[in-house]
Symmetry: D2
Subunit: 129 residues, 4 copies
């Protein structure tokens, strides 16, 4: 399941170099993942009801093109890799010219809300991989 979220680059997201700041991309990616979880019917509350929480443990991002104020970006999010207690989503940010602005692998683990230890990724999530 590949989910897309369109956004427009706003003035306050531009840094002194005239382009979107490298940290801002991680916000864009988070917005994209929120959209993915929503489409997957996996809200924060749904995980809590299973006694689980997901925690981001690694983000590996490639910056490929600059983005500018007014750019129309699409953030794509899709499942990539499944471990026992971890899973990786692949995300791409594409601009209005079809260029890849950035891509990233975002790895999370599922933990038990009480013990705070890693537990197997639940079937509600593994089914998408």
């Amino acid at each position: 399941m590949r989910v897309e979220l369109p956004i427009i680059v706003r003035s306050t997201e531009i840094d002194v170099n005239g382009h979107v700041n490298n940290a801002k991309y991680l916000e864009y990616l988070e917005w994209g993942r929120e959209e993915w979880y929503e489409k997957a019917n996996l809200s924060y509350q749904t995980f809590l009801d299973m006694g689980l929480q997901t925690v981001t443990v690694n983000i590996n991002i490639n910056y490929r093109k600059e983005a500018f104020q007014g750019d129309q970006l699409i953030i794509y999010t899709q499942p990539q890799k499944l471990g026992r207690t971890s899973y990786t989503l692949f995300q791409q940010i594409i601009n209005q010219h079809g260029n890849v602005v950035a891509d990233a692998q975002v790895t999370s683990v599922t933990i038990d809300v009480k013990t705070r230890k890693g537990v197997p990724v639940p079937q509600e999530l593994t089914k998408f991989f």
Copy 2:
């Protein structure tokens, strides 16, 4: 009670015009108020224990000078005006040259956590005015 909080302007706080963005100043002011409440022994939890919460209802800010990366700013916060269910803090941001970068009046109301209605400002807070 006038409380000061020194900060240094960081790269990601600068916008495309090469100076601190107007919205960022409101973050600086919030950091300054947090410092004031801490010095006043009035934490979020302390208010909750009284069944109260404070809600910002108005900010009136004057932008007087630009601020730049590396600037050493001091955020001053002090009580200014007391109403029945509201109170106003006066804040100033001063740079390393002694210039006023911005000043603001920040008005909050105290509300009952349950009814969400305005209630008289508690004595723990009025004593500073």
Copy 3:
């Protein structure tokens, strides 16, 4: 000329209290003003070509309702008041239920790019008031 800009509240715009942070609203307002200037054909470059720049000197904002993740907000921007070297835009943020989340008066001055002194607001801008 009243211009509207629709936005959706994103996860990273929510603070520890579970609602949009007070500083974030000033970013929303700036996005709205950018939209207004664009519709008015008054880009940053257009002002520069006249030897002018606009500088925000005061923002007076009322916080009226909380905003939450996923809220569909519209930022309205319109001319309000005209001085000799200054002008005030009135802005409102309305949520999907028709409630006013915040409103603000934003006052700017037009300055000469070289002398950095205030100069009369140009006719290209006064005609909207």
Copy 4:
């Protein structure tokens, strides 16, 4: 050359989950790198004078511990790996208890300001590796 930058976690850097948001760490890292370049006497202008610019192409960050409001963090930055036209800085964020909050490898390339193509890392920078 290992450079350290102490910071304090501020209220507006905390997200709805009560801890520092994952994107904010990339701002902290940028602040740390700015400090490193300054200590290395390699300002943005110094690179420009050589006809060069540095561009971040990859950030690989591990999130290891949560950080909270008021935490006293130190951001450590040091050279790690040198390529022909690229170089990698290693960064760590350590909290007041001595725990690693996050660590990251940040890879940049040096480009010619005019051609925008990768060029060999200059000796002014390679000498630190």
